[in-house]
Amino acid sequence: MYSETTPASMEEQKPQHGHPSLSEYFLDRSYDEMFDAQGVVRPHYEALLSAFTRLPKEELVRRKQSADLSFLMQGITFTVYGREEGTERIFPYDLLPRIVTAAEWERVERGLTQRITALNLFLRDVYNEGKILSDGCIPREIVYSCRHFRREMRGLQVPRNIYIAVTGSDLLRLDNGEFVVLEDNLRVPSGVSYMLTNRRVMKRTFPQLFGAYGVRPIEHYTQALLSTMRSLAPEGRPEPTIVLLTPGIYNSAYFEHTYLARQMGIELVEGRDLVIHDNIVYMRTTAGLKRVDVIYRRVDDDFIDPLAFRSDSILGVAGLFNAYRAGNVTLANAFGTGLADDKALYAYVPAIIRYYLNEEPLLNNVETYLMTDPVQRQHTLANLDKLVVKAVGESGGYGMLIGPKSTQAQREEFKRLIEANPRNYIAQPTLEFSRAPCLMGSPESPQIEPRHVDLRPYILYGDKVTIVPGGLTRVALPKGSLVVNSSQGGGSKDTWVLTD
């Protein structure tokens, strides 16, 4: 079924709330997190809305400034690629939390657990027996043509059979209120430090409101991450040494790497700190060489070992892959997890869940058209102005075409690209995903306005699946924008999962 989606609706209506700071709050066809379709405040947003509308606007602005200052002082910045000047920027923070009810979260949590379990079984299968392929459930050519498929992983036993220890799935909420999965992000997902610092700033900025709401805590994330890593240590290493491998200070997520290493109390290492001898990984310390057992790596597959993968990489460690194959060190995530992250393979995830778990998926996919299928390709090419086209191996909002916002020239360009290499592209409908209230306007007249948001929960998989309640809610800050990526004008806000 090909549903036609209409960009922003014409019949906008005002919510029934008459407060002046809400005068710019219009509802449209997309799901609104705060108001229902009739413009009535949803029960779990009532206290928040009344707290914010009761505050004098000077007070609101003051708290916003104090929150911003707190981020600045902590140096919570990210790096934007491709710019000479001002590459270090603060990730914009929105003051209003996004609230998720206990019932909504329960479903999301079960759905993600199911999905991660299935994807992990899939990776194990594909890199070993390949039953799902011989059963014809997934075409072999889709798997073998994935850019992130690692032939080197064939027949390798990974500890506890866990390939994806850390995931940050991107969820969207559709106009009917249903959460769907947009991307699985199984390689090196980032942003969890923003989730944690957002919460800390929120608690300081609105202590009473936060306390009264009954929000489930998330502060145990780093501890859970550490236990997950520990549970994946190679056999016979009961007191494993765990390190975080960073590409270094020029990486956009370097702040996060230092933050997590500090919070977990583990060493933050770069490739040049590690040496391999007889397939054992050591780090150079002032007390000599110290053996390393588990590496929480924040370096992509391609760059991690110049001998096994890209030989021009200076971020990695020569010989690391051999040490890994020898079972002397654990890498989390494992190599080759990007296979299940491929956007064309994504279309098969519901089938993967049914195949391994014999269950119906609890969280749906976004409808996806495969360009390798002639009918779907024809449909896409005829409707480029309405669809979103994505390169299968990219992430972070790079390499995509947003149909309704594109020019004729861009569409021509993508048409050529698709026809030249259909395997490299997929198309999805332009989604009118949900909007949440955000503090916009100028310091003189602060306004509460709706902006599109997604949700990235962080899933840990060691001896069990752990999901801290909530995750990172990313906001597309420019009015009407559908792009939440930090590299392209996105911001974030705290996410409250209620206990009730």
Partner: protein, 319 residues
């Protein structure tokens, strides 16, 4: 502690000490320029350059404002204050997680203070600009001592500072020894008196010296004070004492034997300074004695690297 981290902390500290030394040399010599004395401007600024180890690309061209401009906020010049502070911050940035937030903020502020400064011209109020930077550097040291764990990382910071300071003081002594003690051993006119004060001030030693020897300047006493005084923080002996102490702490915490070459070299240098007599130093070839100390400092630096930072994997595995 990771070798790379130790390396960064050590160099951060050395660069900050270097910046401080440069600031003070400029400040003192600008002050001395105001007094009419027998020393030519050329001789004075040549001495400053020599005391900084003759940084590459810098020569005396007859204009002290131009020289000061190159030595202060000229980021393209490796010997400038700005370059030293930028290098220190770059090292700190690589080990951001090892430093306290207070340290990082203070260093950042200092960084902006120098990188946003306009180039020096004849109208610049150097007597206000330079002390402000000195304050910033002192604040950083104080914050380091009060907010950072006095563990291995802190010890590497002490090492960097001590060795850089020992280098600086010995180099100054070497230059003054050649220019004054040796050239005009008996002269004691006002101009020489001023130069001696200049030497002491360059090591913040004037008042401390007066406490011990009164305001009478004698080259023997000055040399004794800056070389062998056990209590004054800029004396060579004191610097080597604290270097040795930091080395012993690191040795202990990293579980290494204290009988290796590094300990032996550092211990020997320390002992030689402990038991030296200034009259003996002056009887022998004093210039050779001073360059001997410099050479030993270089060796100690190399050995720190060989033991803790760039050691060979084979050696470490067999140990």
């Amino acid at each position: 502690m990771l070798s790379r981290v130790a390396d960064s902390l050590y160099w951060m500290s050395r660069y900050l000490e270097r910046a401080e030394h440069t600031v003070r040399l400029l400040d003192v010599n600008m002050g001395l320029m105001l007094d009419r004395s027998g020393t030519s401007a050329e001789g004075r600024w040549q001495r400053v350059l020599a005391a900084l180890g003759n940084p590459a690309g810098l020569t005396w061209k007859g204009d002290h404002i131009q020289l000061i401009r190159s030595l202060t906020f000229d980021g393209n010049n490796r010997g400038s204050i700005t370059s030293s502070i930028v290098a220190a911050r770059e090292n700190a940035r690589q080990v951001r997680d090892e430093l306290s937030t207070e340290q990082w903020q203070r260093l950042n502020r200092l960084y902006y203070q120098v990188t946003e400064s306009r180039p020096i011209d004849s109208g610049t109020q150097l007597e206000e600009v330079l002390p402000a930077i000195l304050d910033g550097l002192h604040l950083f040291q104080g914050i380091t001592d009060t907010t950072m764990n006095h563990g291995e990382g802190w010890q590497f910071i002490q090492m960097g500072r001590s060795i850089e300071r020992a280098f600086a003081t010995v180099m100054l002594l070497d230059i003054y020894y050649r220019d004054f003690f040796l050239a005009q051993p008996s002269a004691s006119d006002t101009s020489q008196y001023l130069e001696w004060i200049g030497l002491l001030r360059s090591c913040t030693a004037f008042e401390a010296y007066c406490h011990v020897y009164t305001a009478d300047m004698s080259h023997e006493w000055i040399l004794e004070f800056l070389l062998l005084n056990p209590d004054f923080p800029h004396s060579v002996r004191y610097s080597i004492d604290s270097l040795r102490q930091a080395l012993l702490s690191v040795c202990q915490s990293s579980g290494r034997l204290s009988t290796d070459e590094l300990s032996r070299m550092a211990g020997r240098l320390q002992a030689s300074l402990h038991f030296a007599e200034i009259s003996e130093v002056l009887q022998q070839d004093t210039a050779a004695y001073l360059s001997g100390i410099l050479r030993q400092c270089h060796q100690i630096h190399d050995l720190i690297y060989g033991s803790y930072i760039h050691y060979s994997v084979q050696a470490a595995l067999s140990a």
